[in-house]
């Protein structure tokens, strides 16, 4: 009760100081104004993730308020007066702390209320996002300000004199979102100090991720609590050292409990799981230096059935059982799989016996206990866990594990990504299994609804056969059905729903031409399940990386920066059609291994122009590709080839998609010397004409 009275009294004193209430109201208005401006743009997510300036301003305000509240008592030399009263100093100190806590609580409630007021029309359809918003404001406004207030209070309690201010400035610089300007890690640094110390939005330079949503993981909470506990412990020590708190068993027990909690928060943070990070370049750098000297071969393994158990408490934890039939011609005593390098294998059992293995980058080699012969069946069990990248997610907040990604052991001996030497572009490598496998998946995801290409059979269970593997997605997603096609999209993109038929109609026309021309060995169609997701990161300059076709689902990708794409398909229809064509012809594992991605890009660009022309959509992909300089290479001068292709393109023969030329060209995508072969092919066509 006395603490409450102390709080009321001190609050009144601050109120009477005029400057502090004005600054406080100013902070509230500034935060609210930001929400209002973003509401005009229809950006409920960016309104929060782009509000780091609010944290910057609030942080310095609360650091100084913490100092001010201590200095106010010091100014009137009240420390000795209060400490002559039984529990007087502690009561006054608690009252001062409560002033900060309650004012922060009011900020959280006010900003959240105002956010709801201006953003309601965008977010009312997704109650879980409303909860996320409250947690976000509590975490990155509330707890961040509390960390600053307690730090300011603690520093001013321990240190008298003007040295407090440079120290406060140092805390401010180190612990607020702008710290990346001073602490951004270099590529060879093992610890991201800027992320660890920052109590505000972890990715201030990154746009809101419409799939992942707001960063509100347990790790972030543990970090904030860690930084709250540290000043509390130091205040505790100060009070005991100066006799304001009597050393007794209750005080010692309380101190120990807070200390244990602090240490557990630190340990939890250091062994943290996956969080959303703006470190796109890290993966790019990893694959730039990746050893891809060995040949990429599909291993002679047949898999009929795969049982998978997944958990995503902190990051992906998987247990996979499958029967593998060895179809190699010669006996072998090792098995080669590809598994994304961040997924660390813990245990491998073959026929229930432990076997040795080694993981080198994305390559997993299992050493068998003895040699196996053709058609021998092995029961393999694998346990692995990990995942940190921001290209794919598997934590309590979001899941994005597409079928083309080797999050399940892939039978292709190739990495998850490559960096194209010529263009320095990061290229995803297709790991779709292309075997008709019966999958049984148990996935106890604690977060939001999980969507998959497999049918859901029971709660937390999915089962079914697929030629392409499993795609899993969860996050700020909703599902909409239009013309019997299910669209899984971020809920913030709901206004695009009416635009689905526009795209679908044109894709139907394209698939009809492709199928009637027999351009592909198997027919393609517009799948009944579309995942329209923000799966392209800032390093993805190549938009084709986002769209992946398989018989049972299409992953249609776009940039993470897209937040509210009203009439998006109408506006950017050409781009999507180009990407879908690419997914039919290039991002299609069933066609075989792409041996030269540059050559594949040329094929896709040329074919896209011809295909779109057939449905009366103008396209200049080929011309754009030539102008982009992406084809330039010392290995295979292309000037002659370009003039040959231009000549062919202008001929009437080029319009005949059923001609053998395109089928022959398509075969070259998987041959070893495609450039020379294409020249020969073109010469042959010219001769025929």
């Amino acid at each position: 009760m006395n603490i409450l009275y102390s709080f009321k009294f001190l609050l009144r004193q601050l109120y009477l100081s005029y400057f502090i209430p004005i600054a406080y109201i100013g902070l509230l208005i500034y935060a609210s104004l930001g929400f209002y401006i973003y509401s005009l743009e229809g950006s409920p997510g960016n309104a929060l993730t782009s509000s780091s300036t609010v944290v910057q301003i609030g942080a310095i305000a609360y650091l100084l308020l913490g100092v001010y509240n201590v200095r106010l008592s010091d100014k009137y030399d009240l420390k000795h007066l209060f400490s002559s009263i039984k529990s007087g100093y502690i009561t006054h100190q608690m009252g001062s702390l409560l002033v900060g806590i309650i004012s922060i609580f009011i900020i959280v409630i006010c900003t959240f209320s105002f956010y709801l007021l201006v953003m309601w029309k965008y977010i009312y359809i997704n109650p879980s996002f409303i909860v996320d918003v409250f947690l976000y404001i509590s975490l990155y406004y509330g707890l961040a300000f509390l960390v600053c207030y307690l730090s300011g209070f603690m520093v001013a309690t321990w240190i008298r004199g003007k040295f407090v201010f440079p120290l406060i400035l140092l805390i401010y610089v180190l612990m607020t979102p702008l710290n990346f300007m001073f602490l951004r890690r270099s590529n060879n640094s093992f610890f991201a100090w800027d992320k660890f110390l920052n109590v505000g939005e972890p990715n201030p330079t990154m746009a809101f991720h419409p799939l992942y949503g707001l960063s509100i993981s347990h790790d972030q909470l543990a970090k904030q609590l860690l930084f709250i506990c540290i000043p509390i412990l130091l205040l505790f020590i100060y009070n005991v050292m100066h006799g304001f708190l009597q050393k007794n068993k209750y005080i010692i027990i309380t101190f120990c409990l807070v200390l244990i909690f602090t240490i557990s928060c630190l340990v939890s943070n250091l062994n943290g799981g996956q969080i959303l990070l703006d470190n796109d370049a890290e993966l790019h750098n990893y694959y730039k230096n990746y050893d891809i000297t060995h040949s990429w071969e599909q291993q002679p393994y047949k898999i009929n059935e795969m049982n998978i158990s997944l958990d995503t408490k902190k990051n992906l934890s998987a247990e996979v059982w499958y029967s593998l039939i060895y179809e190699g011609q010669t006996a072998t005593n090792e098995l080669i799989f590809s598994l994304f390098h961040e997924l660390k294998v813990k245990d491998v059992l073959i026929d229930k016996k432990q076997v040795n293995f080694n993981q080198n980058g994305d390559r997993l080699k299992i050493i068998l206990n003895g040699a196996i012969e053709r058609n021998e069946v092995l029961n393999i069990s694998l346990k692995y866990e990990g995942l940190k990248t921001n290209f794919y997610f598997a934590n309590e907040q979001a899941v994005y594990l597409p079928s083309y990604f080797n999050w399940l052991p892939s039978i292709y001996d190739k990495p998850s990504f490559i960096v194209l030497n010529e263009s320095n572009l990061l290229q995803r490598v297709n790991h779709q299994l292309t075997q008709n496998v019966a999958y049984n998946l148990v996935f106890k995801h604690r977060g939001k609804e999980v969507y998959s290409n497999l049918p859901k059979t029971e709660k937390d269970e999915w089962a079914g056969k697929s030629f392409s593997g499993i795609t899993l997605a969860s996050g700020l997603l909703d599902v909409y059905t239009k013309n019997d096609t299910q669209w899984v999209i971020p809920f913030t993109w709901k206004d695009i729903v009416d635009d689905f038929p526009t795209l679908e109609a044109d894709v139907q026309k394209l698939t009809s031409i492709i199928n009637s021309s027999r351009l592909l060995p198997t027919e393609v169609s517009f799948p009944k399940k579309i995942f329209f997701l923000p799966n392209l990161n800032t390093v993805d300059r190549n938009e084709f990386q986002g769209t992946w076709y398989s018989q049972d689902h299409l992953i249609l990708g776009t940039h993470v920066t897209v937040e509210y794409p009203e009439e998006y398909f109408t506006t950017y229809k050409n781009n999507f059609l180009v990407n879908i064509i690419n997914s039919f012809f290039i991002n299609n594992a069933s066609l075989g291994e792409i041996t030269d991605y540059q050559f594949a890009i040329l094929y896709r660009a040329f074919l896209t122009d011809i295909l779109l022309e057939q449905i009366n959509i103008p396209s200049s992909e080929f011309q754009q590709l030539l102008e982009s300089g992406q084809l330039q290479s010392d290995k295979h001068p292309i000037d002659d080839l370009v003039s040959q292709l231009n000549g062919f393109k202008n001929s009437t023969v080029s319009k005949d998609l059923s001609s053998s030329f395109y089928k022959e060209w398509a075969k070259l995508l998987h041959s070893n010397n495609p450039w020379e072969s294409l020249k020969n092919l073109l010469e042959k066509v010219e001769d025929l004409n």
Binding site: R12, S17, D77, S83, S84, I85, G88
Partner: protein, 289 residues
């Protein structure tokens, strides 16, 4: 509570010995006198239970022991040397706040505050803000807050610092009045404060007790040893070590001094000793206990 016994008190800050073997009894209106740095404030903080002594003990006749810090704090009212408060708070709010911190119940709160306001003659100023109070009023507010909870021991550190002459007189009268019902300990380096307020004194020097006892007895101990003489400025130089006080009267000086071999040259007249005489005498001649 009638008497507080201070026994063998020692206080070290790191390696520095600030108080050394302090022994005296506190009763009635008690003055703690000593130059700056004598250890008065440290001793007061020990008596207020703000800090603990390194060695020694303090206890009261009614079994209150200073080892029980919380019990002591409930019995002590303290006015620090530099008392002020949040400048926008009214006198009443300040007292209400301190009363709450002292745990005075809601039912007694108004009565207690009214009583201390009356005792300190601040009733008319109860709605004034701290920033509107004069130095004397602020000290009275300091006393008022110290009186909340009706403490048995009132400790006042440097009570008249910064006050003008009129305010000093009024404040001393107030302290004298308050000393009737409780033990009042006044710490000061201003001799007049103690002389006009206290019946018992203790003089500290360099962390040690120089002398302690009842004021009248102490003054009697130097009766006849203090003389007064009128001297010219040239004569004044020969007496520099013995002088207690000098008052300029035109071309002459009225000098109070304690005679020694040098001063026997002058025919001074014996005067009644004051506390200032006693203090200076002890500072120059007294043996530290």
């Amino acid at each position: 509570m009638k008497i507080i016994h201070v026994k063998n008190i020692q206080k070290r800050f790191n390696k520095e010995l600030v108080l050394n073997d302090i022994n005296f009894d506190i009763k009635g209106s008690f003055g703690l006198l000593g130059p700056n740095g004598a250890g008065k404030t440290t001793l007061i903080r020990i008596l207020c239970s703000i800090i603990q002594p390194t060695n020694g003990e303090i206890y009261a006749d009614n079994q209150l022991n200073w080892k029980d810090s919380n019990a002591v704090k409930s019995n002590v009212g303290y006015l620090p040397q530099t008392f002020s408060f949040f400048k926008n708070a009214s006198v009443y709010r300040v007292l209400e706040y301190i009363a709450k911190l002292k745990g005075i119940s809601k039912s007694e709160l108004t009565n207690e505050i009214t009583q201390v306001l009356e005792e300190t003659n601040l009733m008319l100023q109860k709605d004034k803000k701290v920033k509107q109070l004069s130095g004397g009023m602020l000290r009275r507010l300091g006393i008022a807050q110290a009186l909340l909870g009706n403490p048995n021991l009132l400790i006042v550190d440097e009570p008249t610092v910064g006050l003008d002459i009129e305010e000093r007189v009024r404040f001393r009268q107030l302290l004298r009045k308050l000393g009737k019902d409780r033990i009042v300990l006044i710490s000061s380096h201003i001799v007049e404060d103690i002389e006009n307020t206290c019946d018992h004194i203790c003089i500290l020097k360099e962390g040690k007790v120089v002398v302690t006892g009842e004021l009248n007895d102490l003054l009697a101990s130097i009766d006849g040893k203090v003389k007064e003489v009128f001297l010219s400025s040239e004569q004044l130089n020969t007496l520099s070590n013995e002088i207690i006080s000098i008052k300029e009267l035109g071309s002459e000086y009225k000098v109070r001094y304690v005679p020694s071999n040098n001063s026997n040259l002058f025919q001074g007249t014996s005067v009644s000793p004051t506390l200032e005489d006693f203090y200076v005498y002890n500072m120059n001649h007294g043996d530290i206990q």
